[in-house]
């Protein structure tokens, strides 16, 4: 096994052995990412027979069904829930990320750890914790009954508010961590310069800090928005079946209704939405850097 010394530099062309080693990676991605995505698309063009089997074909009927107001409403509701969750996470999380980044190194490490633990805690456990708090005989209602008996019990669980609370609770660390990374890279001299030029904190934030941390915000927003649009587990647990989101409908088409082609069409629509949001973010990202 002798290779020319040129192969040592990063940037060399792979030889036969390297190609051989690359094969598992290529095969894995082709077989389990690319091919399934294509099959999903193919499936969305088919239809189901009366036993729930997929009949492959070529019809756009499933996509026409997507335009049914029922599904359009569900799509819009999912986007609304995800947007609300993302906005709340940003409002709640940004100051926290900022505070962590400007804390003394020791405190910073501790604070980071304190955000990491919920980040790694199973979202099922965290959602379940809210079920226990919000249910009729739960802690919050006990508190309400104690403070203001006339109001108790409040129907808290299985409401849209419960779903959004659970989603914000689950995804908050996903926003804090990337924003922190971006605030931490902030050049303090720039802020000082702005202060020296007479800008107060209310002026420095929108014109210096915010644009410079835009990459972190973009990353955080993606990490929150994308999974929440398609979430079905949190909505199932905290929303009951009362507030179906697009994830619940897809899940239902695949496992209960057994209309795979329609579920696949919903999935392809979701994939399209996801790709569009990625392209938008990519288009936005360089501006944030350039403006800084």
């Amino acid at each position: 096994m002798t290779s020319p010394p040129a192969a040592l530099e990063p940037g060399a062309r792979p030889g036969a052995v390297a190609w051989l080693l690359l094969t598992p990676l290529l095969a894995w991605l082709a077989l389990f990412v690319v091919v399934p995505a294509l099959l999903l698309f193919g499936c969305s063009l088919g239809e189901r027979d009366e036993f729930g089997q997929v009949l492959w074909g070529f019809s756009l009927e499933n996509y026409a069904r997507l335009l049914d107001p029922v599904y359009l409403r569900i799509f819009l509701r999912s986007l609304g829930f995800a947007a609300l969750t993302t906005a709340l996470c940003l409002l709640i999380g940004y100051p926290v990320a900022y505070q962590i980044a400007r804390a003394a190194p020791r405190v910073r490490e501790l604070l980071l750890l304190l955000v990491m633990v919920p980040f790694w805690t199973s979202f099922l456990v965290r959602t379940y914790a809210w079920m226990a708090i919000l249910r009729e005989e739960g802690l919050l209602n006990a508190l309400v009954a104690w403070l203001h008996p006339a109001w108790a019990p409040l129907g808290l669980l299985y409401t849209p508010a419960a779903v959004v609370t659970g989603l914000v609770y689950s995804y908050l660390p996903f926003l804090i961590l990337p924003v922190y990374a971006s605030v931490e890279k902030l050049d303090g001299a720039l802020i000082e310069a702005a202060h020296d030029l007479g800008a107060g904190p209310w002026r420095v934030f929108p014109s210096v800090i915010l644009p410079l941390t835009l990459p972190g915000i973009a990353a955080g927003v993606t990490l929150v928005f994308v999974p929440t649009v398609a979430m079905f587990a949190v909505t199932d647990l905290l929303g009951g079946a009362r507030v179906p989101l697009i994830g619940n409908v897809i899940q239902n088409q695949f496992l209960q209704a057994r209309d795979w082609p329609f579920g696949a069409a919903l999935g392809v629509a979701l994939l399209g939405l996801f790709l569009i949001s990625q392209l938008l973010l990519r288009a936005l990202r360089p501006h944030g850097v350039i403006r800084g």
């Binding site: 290779s3 040592l8 990676l25 991605l29 790694w120 379940y128 249910r135 739960g138």
Partner: protein, 271 residues
């Protein structure tokens, strides 16, 4: 605190109030993040079945956990799946990171986007598209299908972690090894690999925790016999509250804490 040297509304008061506000807000958010989970842990020791009232300290629900065969079975399944996922992800991720770092070839950028895709794509899409693939290929759902799903979204995390470490590595390291007569494999095995160990361990830990917690992809790719713990817990939680689940959640938390502690230790060791 020393007596304020400035009246409250001095020019310095604004920033100082802001700083205090930021601190207070951060504390409040941390309470918000921890309180629900802490309540859950405390109540897992409550003798009462589901009431709000405290009826005494008891380990009853933990004891009952030991009698739940299906849950234990699911926990074992989860361990098997997470173990296999970690192993495969580490191999695939490390190899991929090394090759993507070392070589330039046509389609490399496309390949990189493809690697990133499973990390950012909504999990439900991975789940349903794999389900269609397995159905079409006539592969029955079981451990293999769950592990395939898990590896697909886990190995990119290993790859990214290892790649970041590779980029910080001095290229002269490998050169020196080769000059001293090491074969390419020898240089990789004895020079590069040890330098990558912290990143590989961190990536592997991430793969393990991701797999251990995963619900959505599993939901579409598991059979009844290969159901993992999150899948079982989800099924139980959908029906309603259950004191045994409180105890189980507390144990879950313990696993997470151990994982985070281990990863912190790894990061310290890497420095």
């Amino acid at each position: 605190m020393a007596a304020p040297r400035f009246p409250l509304l001095s020019p310095a008061a604004g920033p100082r109030l802001l700083a205090a506000g930021l601190r207070g807000w951060t504390a409040l958010v941390l309470v918000f993040l921890y309180l629900p989970v802490l309540v859950l842990v405390v109540y897992s020791f409550n003798a009462a079945r589901l009431g709000v009232g405290w009826e005494g300290f008891s380990g009853r629900w933990y004891a009952e956990l030991l009698q739940q065969g299906p849950l234990q079975r699911a926990a074992l399944n989860s361990l098997v799946v997470a173990g296999a996922t970690t192993l495969l992800s580490v191999v695939l991720g490390t190899l991929g990171a090394w090759l993507l770092h070392r070589y330039r070839f046509p389609g490399r950028d496309l390949l990189e986007s493809l690697v990133n895709l499973p990390m950012v794509m909504p999990e439900i899409l991975l789940g349903i598209s794999l389900l269609v693939l397995f159905a079409l290929a006539g592969v029955g759902l079981g451990f293999t299908t769950v592990i395939i799903g898990h590896v697909t979204f886990s190995f990119p995390f290993v790859l990214v972690a290892v790649r970041a470490r590779l980029q910080g590595l001095d290229p002269a390291l490998e050169e020196a090894a080769r000059d001293l007569g090491a074969t390419p494999w020898g240089a990789f095995r004895h020079v590069i690999l040890p330098a990558l160990r912290p990143a590989i361990l961190a990536g592997g830990l991430m793969a393990f925790l991701l797999s251990w917690d995963e619900l959505i992809v599993t939901y579409f790719t598991a059979s009844a016999a290969s159901a993992t713990l999150p899948l079982k817990v989800f099924g139980l939680a959908k029906v309603g509250l259950n004191p045994v689940l409180n105890a189980l959640s507390a144990l879950f938390l313990l696993v997470t804490l151990a994982g985070v502690a281990f990863s912190t230790y790894l990061r310290r060791a890497a420095r």
